[in-house]
């Protein structure tokens, strides 16, 4: 039923639904208002519930947006909730299109109805209720000209985005600041982070997708990219370790050109001193509290090493029996399996979520069209009426039509909520990629260790042979002895590298473990949140829709022919 085009279409539809949102609801590190919690508690007092989920509906078809309800007093329609317990969730869900006197007005008049509160407003864990926050916004894309004259006549143009940060983290100098960055800077940031934070689950950056930029309208593409960048930076900002990293700090704060080494510079970097550069800029000698993994000293991750590692992995392969990287940690392997399974399930679930969203959307649309068709009929019958029976029928139709149109709007609102909630699934796909990255870091670190080990053993082998040969020569073999000494020096250096590499590997393992733990915890909370949000909005809107149709059933009760 769902061909690939449909998938694409519905993805686009989902994206466009998402894009219409006023503000990004994905900032987990936002000051969480715990609106939901307070709503739940106030519900049990059966007082005026606070607003929890507001639909940011910029659909021009449904203007005017805000119709604040003037009925401060009677907020709970007794007929709307057909049970006294549990409380009616229809009251919890604010809709600007209600004209049942169900809820009190929005918290600050009509204005805030456009403002979508963070939908996953349930705090994930008590600690995020503390004052630490960092909020990043990406805006105002601008075309700029490349100042250096390139070979292309007319110069190269590119787009920059304004990146505004508000934070109270002590690592940052200041509480609000703004810089302009281009996409290339983001790539640099991502690359530097990948190097410095091996073993961590670093959120994947937006794609370069050159092809798309040629296919799409420039405007659309820029907007999509802006959204993607914002999402990415917010995810970085919500990572407990990375949010305090030098790389991110520099990216968000340093004015002018981004003072991070670009990827083309890295190849020529031989000294690990270059890693210290960002820290030097800020002048503080102490690094961040979490130990950043240092590249192995004495050559760093230079090309020579890389070459050897490649050879090692190849020789491991050709060994036949052992896999390229010998990973003996069973727990790790199990975890990896699990992560893979999880990823598959998330993919599957998010696909089905997309088709659910489409089906809800279609339902709403068709219901609306039905309503409109009946409105036309109503008008027609009224205009042409000769008999009273026609007027009665026109009235019946009008009631039906009105409710159908209302129900249609509710379906659409519900859908934009559903999109928000189920988008958690999409988010986690990105995170799964980050996990893969972290595991890959571990594997490559292990490979480094193995490479060094094998190098040491081959060097030692050579040394042994030389020693044996030199011992045969009476009085010593000056040239051989010299070689032996050189070898022994190399062995020593290599052993040092090996030790560093082992430490690095251990550190990465540790990082892995911490991250996976954190991910598991957060995943649990995030998904529970998602489910709750999803379910609450389903309940709330189902109640509203039920009310709307109950009304029609009452209005047409004279036609009840059921013999009970």
């Amino acid at each position: 039923m769902m061909g690939s085009e449909n998938d694409q279409e519905s993805k686009e539809k989902m994206k466009s639904l998402f894009l219409r949102e006023e503000s990004d609801p994905f900032t987990r590190s936002d000051q969480s208002n715990s609106n939901y919690r307070s709503a739940m508690s106030t519900l049990s007092d059966s007082r005026h519930p606070s607003i929890v989920v507001t639909p940011a509906n910029s659909d021009p078809l449904f203007a005017p947006q805000s119709r604040s309800k003037p009925n401060g007093g009677s907020n709970r329609d007794s007929s709307s909730s057909s049970y006294l317990e549990p409380p009616s969730y229809a009251d919890v869900i604010f809709s600007p299109f209600d004209d049942n006197s169900e809820i009190n007005g929005s918290d600050d008049g009509g204005g805030s109805s456009r403002h979508s509160q963070s939908s996953d407003s349930l705090s994930r864990s008590p600690s995020s209720l503390t004052s630490d926050y960092i909020k990043i916004t990406v805006s105002s894309p601008q075309k700029e000209q490349e100042s250096t004259n390139s070979m292309i006549p007319g110069g190269n143009t590119y787009v920059t985005y304004q990146i505004t940060t508000r934070t109270n983290l002590s690592e940052y100098n200041g509480s609000e600041f703004s810089v302009r960055r281009r996409f290339r800077d983001v790539v640099t940031l991502a690359d530097r982070l990948a190097e410095s934070y091996r073993g961590f689950c670093i959120p994947p950056r937006p794609d370069k997708s050159v092809v798309e930029s040629q296919v799409m309208q420039k405007q659309e593409f820029v907007e999509q990219r802006r959204v993607a960048l914002e999402k990415y930076l917010r995810r970085l900002g919500s990572h407990p370790v990375i949010r305090k990293s030098d790389e991110l700090k520099v990216f968000l704060q340093a004015q002018g050109k981004l003072p991070l080494a670009t990827s083309t510079d890295v190849a020529s970097r031989m000294l690990d001193g270059a890693v210290k550069l960002p820290r030097q800029l800020f002048g503080d000698a102490s690094s961040s509290s979490v130990e950043v993994v240092q590249p192995a000293r004495g050559g760093g991750r230079d090309f020579l090493r890389l070459f050897k590692e490649l050879r090692q992995s190849v020789s491991n392969d050709w060994g036949g029996v052992k896999p390229a990287v010998v990973e003996e940690d069973k727990e790790f392997l199990e975890k990896k399996e699990k992560m893979y399974d999880l990823e598959q399930q998330i993919i599957n679930a998010s696909q089905q979520a997309e088709s659910l969203v489409k089906a809800q959307q279609d339902m709403g649309e068709t219901m609306g069209e039905l309503g409109l068709a009946f409105i036309k009929l109503t008008k027609f019958e009224n205009e042409e009426a000769v008999f009273n029976s026609q007027r009665v029928r026109a009235n019946d139709m009008k009631n039906l039509a009105t409710s159908a149109v209302k129900a249609s709007r509710f379906y659409r609102e519900l859908n934009s909520q559903t999109v928000k909630h189920l988008d958690t699934l999409h988010d986690y796909l990105g995170l799964m990629m980050a996990v893969q990255g972290a595991f890959a870091d571990r594997s490559s670190a292990l490979l480094t260790v193995q490479t060094l080990l094998s190098e040491i053993s081959s060097l030692e082998g050579r040394a042994e042979k030389l020693e044996a040969a030199s011992a045969k020569v009476f009085g010593g073999d000056k040239s051989r002895i010299k070689k032996i000494e050189e070898l022994k020096e190399t062995i020593k250096v290599t052993k040092d590298s090996k030790n560093v590499a082992i430490r690095e590997y251990e550190q990465i393992k540790e990082n892995n473990w911490c991250e996976v733990e954190r991910l598991d915890r957060e995943r649990r909370a995030d998904f529970l949140n998602m489910m709750k949000g999803f379910v609450v909005s389903q309940v709330g809107y189902a109640e509203k829709i039920a009310n709307v149709w109950t009304k029609v059933a009452e209005e047409t009760s004279q036609y009840n022919r059921e013999s009970s």
Binding site: Q345, A373, R393, L528, M531, V539, W549, T556
Partner: protein, 402 residues
């Protein structure tokens, strides 16, 4: 042939337990569809049960077996004989092969045929029809014979009319206008014609969306099913409490999918079908309008011919021609025909006036019922959706505060 002995008693001892003794009643039900025959020849037969105390009928209860083409026969006969009356419409003849024998389609057709016959039985004029009695009582062989006559090779004018009618509903009134150069032009009738033609358009649109809505229910049901399954699988690879929560969510989703499919069927039967029926009714009225047009044309033409004959006769009388006798006979014949045509036409007009009133009232009632059932169904569905999702919340609450 059930117990017939007691029925003919004038004192009316044999009554249906329900109705009072003096009230005449005729109630019909179309039941028990059964598939007969094989392959391409396969068809559905229905049991038609008649309960009545009318003297013209053979007994208080009669059961016969009828098939769709028998109903068509009845409708065609009534259309021929009772011009001016809006003959109740029949459900469409052929359906897409795949669905022709699906349980839902058969049930919908049965219900539609039941309504068809009952409308005839309740109509003050139509219920007197001899063809109706034949339909309700004749044994199957007789019925087959009657039906064969109608669908025989020799196409009777009625069949041509049928063909014309079938095409007509798709033909715009512009074309119709051109085919009938002589037309009534009273304002009221013009208004009626315009109303009927416009109404069909509006109704067709509403019916189209109603049908789509049925599909949407099915699609939403399907997607909830798929979503539920995916979520359950997801839950299976997660630990507690997320795993259980997901699993519960998935189960509810699957449950709701079933409810949606059920509601889809209900909407189809109780909302979309009445709208379709409404459209068919309007098409039937258009056929009657065509009949009226024909009758009017005949009336006009014959009236004109009569006049001409009269003038001619007068002329001949003046000239004392020996053709007077002949002409006089001709004139009287034409005059009789013309008067008959006028009578026919006027009867159509009168009937139509009554029919329109009845039609409007009937439709208000039937649509009201349809709307009421639709609204109730939607409310019921929404409430059960709310209930199902709501039941998950306590546990979700508990899990997240852990």
């Amino acid at each position: 042939m059930e117990s017939t002995e007691q029925t003919r008693s004038i004192s009316g001892s044999m009554q249906s337990p329900r109705s009072p003794s003096s009230l005449p009643y005729l109630s019909v039900s179309v039941t028990d569809p059964v598939k007969l025959g094989n392959g391409v020849q396969a068809y559905i037969s229905y049991r038609v049960i008649t309960k009545t105390n009318l003297p013209e009928y053979q007994g208080p209860e009669k059961i016969v077996i009828r098939r769709y083409s028998d109903f068509v026969w009845l409708r065609d006969r009534l259309f021929e004989k009772y011009k001016g009356i809006f003959i109740p419409p029949l459900p469409e003849k052929s359906a897409v092969e795949k669905f022709r024998f699906s349980a839902e389609f058969i049930e919908m057709r049965r219900a539609a045929l039941d309504i068809f016959v009952n409308r005839i039985a309740l109509h003050p004029e139509l219920q007197q029809s001899e063809d109706l009695r034949t339909f309700l009582q004749a044994d199957e062989e007789t019925m087959d014979r009657f039906r064969f006559q109608e669908t025989g090779i020799f196409k009777k004018p009625a069949d041509l009319m049928q063909m014309f009618r079938d095409v007509q509903s798709k033909v715009s009134d512009a074309v119709l206008g051109k085919e009938k150069p002589v037309e009534e032009t009273t304002a009221a009738y013009e208004k009626l014609k315009h109303y009927i033609f416009e109404l069909e358009n509006h109704l067709a649109e509403a019916q189209k969306h109603a049908y789509r809505l049925v599909k949407r229910h099915r699609e939403l049901g399907q997607s909830l099913l798929d979503f539920g399954k995916a979520v359950k699988l997801f839950g299976a690879c997660e630990g507690e409490p997320t795993g259980k929560a997901f699993s519960d969510l998935g189960t509810k989703s699957e449950l709701l999918s079933i409810k949606l499919q059920k509601e889809a069927q209900q909407v189809l039967m109780n909302f979309e079908e009445p709208l379709k029926d409404y459209v068919r009714y309007v098409q039937s009225i258009k056929a009657t309008i065509a009949e009226r047009g024909t009758a009017f044309k005949q009336h006009c033409e014959l009236a004109e011919t009569t006049k001409l004959k009269e003038i001619n006769l007068d002329k001949l009388m003046l000239t004392r021609s020996d053709k007077v006798g002949e002409a006089e006979i001709e004139y009287r014949e034409i005059k009789a025909e013309s008067e008959e045509a006028t009578r026919r036409f006027e009867r159509i007009v009168t009937r139509m006036e009554e029919e329109i009133v009845r039609f409007q009232e009937q439709k208000t009632e039937e649509m009201g019922v349809a709307f009421h059932q639709f609204a109730k169904g939607q409310a019921r569905l929404a409430n059960s959706i709310a209930d199902a999702w709501r039941s998950l919340l306590p546990k979700l609450e508990a899990s997240s505060t852990v």
